[in-house]
Subunit: 386 residues, 2 copies
């Protein structure tokens, strides 16, 4: 099999799209990706979506979007793994191309949060945690993350502003990303004065729920003309792993097993070691998730992930740049689209088109999409093809 | 690549499982399938589920079930395409095995309808139709099917009892299936006197929503020991297709394009013609769907599908036996599990284990899972391996 490559990318601005619905949002990203791929015609559509049956009263989004995008007749399916839905859709598309049964696959991640009021969103988000053992007690993903963060701070003697670096880096990187929801840098004082959401987690320790859609066109390299013009990015590694939804069942809730397992497997497939990764798009839905991913993947030893944010290592010129286009904190969290945004943003970096945010000489990226507290983790290694 | 084979099957009784929840139901089917597969260890789980985020307040079912089944760590994802979710999950598992990236895949279809009252179920089911153009008008999948049936009867001069054969056949076949919800044969008078649900569709023209779970273990033939004991069934063809969710956008609403396209593609892949298919597990959510599938696949000419039910052609000893274990009408309709039940039942036939319902000498089956009025169709050709 020749390489599976990203031949086209598309994305919408992330934010509050009051004026358009789920299908229009997805259409814009799909249209952009197909155009970017020189009009390649997809044979299969994989939709990454997390909560449309609740938030948009719309299931069966695969067939709906295939039709709306003018691709009626092709196979279409929705892939759901909570917050990791986008990464999981990418993986299903990758497997389809790798099987040789599909030549051109379209991946679209889409989510529409803002049509619902906050309590409805909270209720919908609660379905992604363990209904019978957590949600039923009133626990939300946010309160769960706060408990995790509190325990982490206690065990590792993290100061009150220990997590500030995650938000500072994300917001700094969001400024130049025209699709980011928040394009304003913040100061350490802003973090220090931020309102608490669920102690010790403040409003800068979590990403904003937002509307957005991102799309990718995947194909095999040998199917493209030899004079293909745009810089290709290959999917060098792809892997996923699952864990308990509920935290109480874990041996060590402060270690994201699935983040380690899936990243390790993807790196092995790509034939690379950690040092070869030029930047890391993590799933910074909560700053505690980002810290635990840095540790699980191996960029920091256990209990020290937060220090990479505190000492500038995750900055654009740091040792391991993260959230290079603003991450979920500043670009925004469009649910099941997030994992596809990661891939689109990594492709922009690897094509050398990230402008002010460009990681100089970047050839290899790790992107990781999480469902819940890494109950699902989907990892991909993307590489610039020369 | 060697053949992708079904190495294990499992199913629960279909019905009203008040006493157990979604995860327990799925566990029973998974456990049975893995045991049937001689303890093969799955590396990936594909869940076919349609409405758990609404009906069970539980999304992220992939990771949940992987953990609950003692398979923590493996990759797990939910695949949704409305009523075709089970067929779509089977297809994703097939693609994963075909890619060579996964050696053993577990497919589980599961749905739990009975924890909700009727109006909640109707609301949830309405999300599978076009929210903005159909559901918003109060149209439900059932009222939509009734309109389709009425138009079909008008155009083709079908008598009032023209569809009775679908229910008569299904109920006759359900009697000997110990997992069927309804195990009682019905008489023509029963159909004739049945209460209307949405005119002209009566209660025997639609399948009952029910709880149930079914599972499959897929692998590659070359990974099994040469002395493998149980009869293997191979997936000789796999294909899917999509169409508009809303009926008003179709060129001809009385022709299921996706049923034709996906069945044709699956047959082509398998290298077979229609005559070689020994039985057909259709998606008889509504009797009108069954008639339209018989026509689209090619067993009847347009407008004459209902005659195959009326003249006994779809019976166990007929020209093209259908719903051989009771179909959705008598076995019951457990939402996203239905497509997996079809595969399990077809495998039982192809293994020669269908006892009183056995299709003598059956070597080749077509199974077809629909989402909505064939807005999605997923078709598989299963064959007995010698």
């Amino acid at each position: 099999m020749t390489d599976v490559v990203i031949a086209g990318i598309g994305q919408t601005e992330v934010g509050e799209h009051w004026e358009i619905g789920l299908r229009d949002l997805a259409y814009d990203a799909i249209h952009a990706a197909i155009q970017d791929a020189g009009g390649l015609k997809p044979q299969a559509l994989f939709v990454g979506n997390m909560l449309a049956p609740n938030l948009s009263h719309q299931a069966h989004v695969g067939a709906l979007l295939a039709d709306y995008a003018g691709l009626g007749g092709i196979e279409a399916v929705t892939v759901e793994a909570a917050g990791a839905s986008g990464g999981a859709a990418l993986r299903q598309g990758y497997l389809a191309i790798a099987s040789g049964m599909v030549d051109v696959a379209l991946i679209v991640g889409v989510e529409k949060f803002t049509d619902m009021v906050g309590s409805e969103v909270d209720e919908a988000l609660a379905t992604t945690s363990d209904s019978d053992f957590e949600a039923v007690q009133g626990m939300t993903p946010t309160s769960q993350a706060a408990l995790l963060m509190k325990r982490y701070m206690h065990e590792n003697d993290v100061p009150a502003d220990g997590f500030a670096g995650f938000a500072l880096t994300a917001h700094a990187n969001g400024v130049a990303n025209k699709n980011a929801m928040f394009r304003k840098a913040i100061k350490p004082e802003t973090y220090a004065k931020a309102e608490m959401v669920s102690e010790p987690l403040n409003m800068f320790d979590m990403a904003p729920n937002a509307d957005g859609a991102a799309a990718l066109v995947l194909t095999r390299r040998d199917l493209l003309p030899s004079n293909w013009k745009s810089q290709l990015v290959k999917i060098a590694g792809s892997a996923a792993s699952s864990d308990t939804l509920a935290l109480h069942d874990r041996k060590d809730m402060l270690y994201f097993d699935t983040a380690q397992l899936s990243a390790g497997k993807a790196m092995k497939q790509a034939g690379i070691v950690l040092d070869q990764i030029n930047f890391f798009e993590y799933h910074d839905m909560f700053s505690i998730y980002a810290a635990l991913q840095l540790e699980a993947v191996g960029f920091a030893i256990k209990g020290k992930g937060w220090k990479l944010a505190a000492d500038g290592s995750i900055g654009l010129k740091g040792k391991i740049p993260c959230a290079t286009m603003g991450g979920m904190k500043a670009r925004g969290f469009p649910g099941g689209a997030s994992g596809v945004y990661q891939a689109v943003e990594a492709a922009i970096q690897l094509r050398g088109q990230a402008e002010a945010n460009q990681i100089a000489g970047a050839t290899t990226a790790l992107i990781q999409s999480l469902g819940g507290p890494a109950a699902t983790a989907v990892s991909h290694i993307l590489q610039r093809l020369d």
